[in-house]
Point group: C2
Chain length 417, copies 2
């Protein structure tokens, strides 16, 4: 398939963009050529689509179900009992809804950790976007549970080969307080052998650090270092409560970190040490976390929270500019997840969006990136293209009504019982 996007704003200039197959074939001021699909880009700007670095996509089913609660009440009385009832079909429709929301708000990749791996992976396939799904791996330090989980993940890894290259199998050891040392070490070895990512929660709350010190006599990153877990395959979400020595270890092992500002604020977890992280050579990306603690998957909103939280926290309005935070959701995660997109250039994979410059939040348009980061939201996105295929045009996604209807049914059935 070929797509010609005519007369679109790209980096402040009017350009034609030709997409052939999955790639951006040519960018020029005026491409006089035929294409199967022509998109009128006038009044629109082209941008790379967004990467969501950490989420639990199907939790969108629980959006708005349990807010303003303490962490223990939220988890023990609301989230966990409901999640225990989830079927693979529920997760499929929940993830379809999440993918629809992501497509509508310009996101074409998410790094996921959730139950019912195949529910997630099938939804990603059917939605047309990309993801690195991982099954939640929890053994609670129980050897038989660990063996089950290892067997399950070996099987899922093999089975995941049936999916397209838009689905990147990853391991999802939940956190150090739910997964045994031996299982973490197994994950390290399996990831190295099979070249897959390891996605875990790390130092999200102060309590996690205190418990680790009590149990292991050291802080979480030191513990993970000492058991040999750290490495370039590790994608650690939250990474809030870090001392300088731990940040050095993360850099030394090329661990990747995910900043989740909205969730961190909503659950009062703490503040990601952005300036300390970026003073070093540590890759950081941005994520929304799940919808039960955000409560949406809008990466433009997340960018605004990300920048403003760091400005406030460092008492410096120049910290984490709009341009820098935009990179945390585009070029930086493209490098981290090794996907040849994240910017609009010839030869790159066509993962891109068109934003509507007549959107009320984008008028006037003195500078596009600050404008969409600080004033825009997902609703500014008009067209979403992933892997060279149009997933949304004129704000319409094929089949969206069915997804809304099925996801609503699943959500109400889940919480009605």
């Amino acid at each position: 398939m070929s797509i010609l996007i005519r007369k679109v704003q790209l980096n402040g200039e009017v350009r034609d963009i030709l997409v052939e197959g999955s790639l951006i074939k040519e960018i020029n001021a005026d491409l006089q050529m035929a294409a199967e699909i022509i998109i009128d880009g006038s009044g629109k700007a082209a941008l790379p689509s967004f990467f969501n670095g950490h989420t639990h996509a199907a939790m969108v089913l629980l959006r708005g179900y349990a807010d303003d609660l303490s962490l223990s009440e939220w988890l023990n009385n609301k989230i966990w009992p409901t999640e225990a009832r989830l079927t693979e079909e529920d997760v499929y429709w929940g993830t379809r809804l999440a993918c629809l929301e992501m497509i509508k708000s310009g996101t074409t990749f998410f790094n996921d950790m959730y139950w019912h791996f195949h529910g997630v992976a099938r939804a990603v396939e059917d939605s047309g976007i990309r993801a690195a799904p991982s099954a939640v791996f929890i053994d609670l330090y129980d050897k038989s549970k660990a063996a089950e989980q290892i067997a399950l993940n070996r099987r899922l890894f093999e089975e995941s080969k049936r999916y397209s290259n838009r689905v990147l199998f990853a391991l999802g050891p939940h956190a150090i307080y739910t997964v045994s040392k031996e299982s973490l070490q197994w994950a390290r070895d399996f990831a190295a052998e099979n070249d897959v990512f390891i996605h875990l929660h790390l130092s999200e709350t102060e309590k996690e650090v205190e418990d680790c010190i009590r149990q292991h006599g050291k802080r979480p990153v030191e513990y993970l270092h000492d058991i040999g877990f750290l490495g370039p395959q590790v994608i650690a979400a939250h990474a809030i409560w870090l001392e300088d020595r731990e940040i050095e270890l993360l850099e030394e092992h090329d661990v990747k970190l995910v900043y989740n500002p909205t969730s961190n604020m909503k659950l009062a977890s703490g503040v990601f040490p952005y300036t300390k992280i970026t003073d070093r050579e540590i890759a950081a990306v941005l994520g929304t976390d799940g919808c039960a603690s955000n409560n949406n998957l809008d990466m433009l909103e997340e960018m605004k929270f990300a920048a403003l939280l760091q400005k406030m926290n460092s008492n410096n309005p120049t910290v984490l500019s709009a341009h820098d935070v935009f990179q945390l959701a585009t070029a930086a995660p493209a490098r981290v997840f090794n996907i040849n997109s994240g910017s609009i250039e010839e030869g790159k994979v066509a993962d891109l969006i068109l934003v509507d410059l007549s959107d009320i939040n984008l008028v006037p348009n003195h500078q596009l990136i600050p404008n969409i980061v600080y004033s825009g939201n997902g609703g500014c996105v008009d067209t979403t293209i992933c892997d060279g295929k149009i997933l949304m045009q004129n704000k319409r996604v094929e089949g969206e009504e069915e997804v809304l209807e099925r996801a609503r049914e699943v959500a109400f059935a889940l919480t009605a019982s």
Copy 2:
């Protein structure tokens, strides 16, 4: 005019709402009656429209023009030189654009402080919403400037009587560091005699407090108390750097406060002491501040920032619930500004919105208020009614294209020079 909204969700039940003239005449399960306009409310929920407690509406012209700068560079090199070139016509179109953005995001009242009073007031009249515009009153401790400003405000007050009751004249003494004691005392007397509000900035930055202590030997609220300025007409924006004794004085004098979380985070000003304020009988409302420091006028986004900032700052996820923050933008400001709306009840003024329950951010809809506060944004609003008149239906505002076009022209001419 009469409007019948049929089968709309209201507080979790399906209702018909009859609007006659400017008032909500009747609410019932099934109103079998004729009306000049029938709105199909199915798939929608009715909510009170929003009040923006502090803004500089026409600054939307400078949205995205100067971000990520230090306060002094932002003001001295970018904002003030540009504002010095503003004409009344510029302010008119800037305010029209701001009103359009507010109507689209469900806001029907704003408390404003800006240059060219009549530019603001005419735009409010023509847009159909409500506002309390005030002319920026700055005398820089200069007696002849003070006399000019006083004469100007006396004249504007008289001239403002030509507008409808949707325009509430207010005084706008900018702040204690830009307005002399004598002018503040004049404002107090004029406000009391003429029953108008006094809108000022108060204790927005730590520097303002330090300068006040250096100049007057006391903190800002103590200074305002000692010169007899404080009273129930005073609406103080920001109110961040307050000691307990100052909070007592604010309560004693029934001063109203405006919390501006997004601007406060973006400019790294500090955190509004919400829990200390609401431990006392002090009225607090929510505002966006101007678009040069926000950068939009979306009160739903502001509610999310408001709640999450307080949760983070107090290390307690139960602080400032979605329901409480919703009140800060509806019922609380309706009381403060003495407008008989802010909730949907028979006999109230019809300032209300319909939100689209099929908006991707509102699916599923376990609880409407948490859903729109934490997941929604202004784009969820389908219909906006102010004073019994439909300003937006099906997301369309009459004449919006002209407003976008004219405001774009003004914005580019302003910043091109």
